[in-house]
């Protein structure tokens, strides 16, 4: 009998075993070995990142929570200059979740992993009572090997350029639009950024970061905070797609705080920037130079230079982005 939904029984004994086997079959990998409680690494790893993913809706234009949770952790490693090799996968489900939907999510995961040659090394499933969880949470922990040891925020210098590898805010705007029932003609940018590892080779790239939650403004604020430097970006150089702008305007939110899930911000020595831009284009990205790094200062800020030359501080958000009417 093919089961239709996840039940609490999948937490214990025979059914948990079956659920694990079911997922393993879809993945083509072992989550929990029947021989040992943990998985064994065959390649060297020296860096690790972890993230838990919750998103509503679970399926969105351009991806689903499965794809997102693989891309999220892989990208965090790539941003560190490391090659992702292994990943763990822990899926927490609400009972009542349909197997058909789980299967789609697992399929997205498999696809991303296969394409990137990242292997599942350990896994876990848990089921929570209906009402104790909103559908699904996925945790991934990604392990890899550092290729670029010098990639580190500490190396950022005055006059470094800020380059973004693609459009701003697609993921966040797609999610917002989906929640409000808007029809959109764009998708989340959710995808892995492993290609960047080859792109930056030999260039004086000082730091990379994926502007996920909190968007561009958030991560540039973090850079600014940890380097004690002002960061400046030019309003008219920001590649904000028209659709993202429109969604933002309708809902009264600032697109600079909307998440990207397949776009990186690269801080690069100005002399290598042209080279980097060209290589990015050749690798299929659509990059722009959006600003520069200032000198060291006591109370550093992220500054937006507007079209008519005015300046505006972009602080870290203190609230969730919510639609406004006024």
């Amino acid at each position: 009998m093919k089961e239709r939904i996840i039940t609490l029984h999948h937490n214990s004994g025979k059914k948990q075993f079956k659920l694990l086997k079911h997922i393993e079959k879809l993945l083509g990998s072992t989550l929990v070995s029947t021989e040992n409680d943990s998985g064994f690494l065959e390649e060297v790893v020296d860096t690790v990142t972890t993230d838990s993913f919750t998103i509503s809706p679970v399926f969105f234009p351009g991806g689903d929570i499965g794809k997102l949770s693989v891309c999220g952790s892989i990208n965090d490693l790539v941003m560190t200059g490391a090659k992702p090799k292994y990943i763990t996968l822990s899926v927490v489900l609400e009972e009542g979740f349909e197997f058909s939907r789980l299967d789609k999510i697992i399929d997205s995961i498999r696809k991303e992993l296969d394409e990137n040659g990242v292997k599942i090394i350990a896994g876990d499933t848990k089921v929570m009572e209906h009402g104790a969880l909103d559908k699904i949470v996925i945790n991934t922990t990604c392990l890899g090997e550092v290729l670029y040891e010098k990639l580190c925020v500490k190396r950022i210098e005055t006059n470094d350029l800020i380059i973004i590898t693609g459009p701003i805010g697609l993921h966040g705007a797609a999610i917002m639009a989906e929640r409000k029932g808007f029809q959109i003609d764009f998708q989340s940018d959710c995808r892995v950024l492993t290609k960047l590892l080859a792109v930056i080779k030999g260039l004086r790239v000082h730091a990379m970061r994926d502007p996920t939650r909190g968007g561009l403004a958030q991560i540039l604020n973090e850079f600014s905070h940890s380097t004690k430097r002002n960061f400046a970006i030019y309003e008219d150089k920001l590649p904000i797609p028209g659709g993202v702008k429109t969604v933002s305007e309708i809902l009264g939110i600032d697109p600079l705080y909307l998440a990207c899930e397949g776009t990186a911000v690269i801080i690069c020595h100005p002399e290598d920037a042209q080279d980097l831009l060209e290589r990015l284009k050749n690798a299929g990205f659509d990059p722009s130079t959006i600003g520069f790094v200032g000198g060291i200062i006591e109370r550093p800020l992220l500054i937006l230079k507007t079209r008519n030359g005015a300046k505006r501080v972009l602080p870290m958000l203190v609230e969730e982005l919510t639609p406004r009417i006024c």
Binding site: Q183, D185, G242, G243, T246, V247, I250, G252, G309, I325
Partner: protein, 75 residues
């Protein structure tokens, strides 16, 4: 004012509702406050309601004036 509103173009009308949009984005809004609106018109949307139709000619004129001011100021 305090009342966030943005201009969107009417695409399709059905009863009290219109599909409006811009830049590939489409959404449904209530048009009971602008009953005479037609497809092709621009409307000002506030909290899911169209609250006024937009006179694009008037809008264009303001843009021109602004341009002249900017030029005069040399910015």
């Amino acid at each position: 004012m305090m009342c966030l509103a943005i201009p969107l173009k009417v695409i399709k009308i059905k009863d009290n509702k219109a599909l409006v949009g811009r830049e590939g984005i489409k959404l449904e809004v209530d048009i009971r406050l602008v009953p005479d609106v037609s497809p092709g018109d621009f409307v000002l949307v506030h909290a899911g309601f169209a609250i006024q139709t937009i006179d694009t000619e008037a809008a264009r004129k303001i843009l021109e004036i602004a341009e002249r001011i900017d030029e005069a100021r040399g910015s």
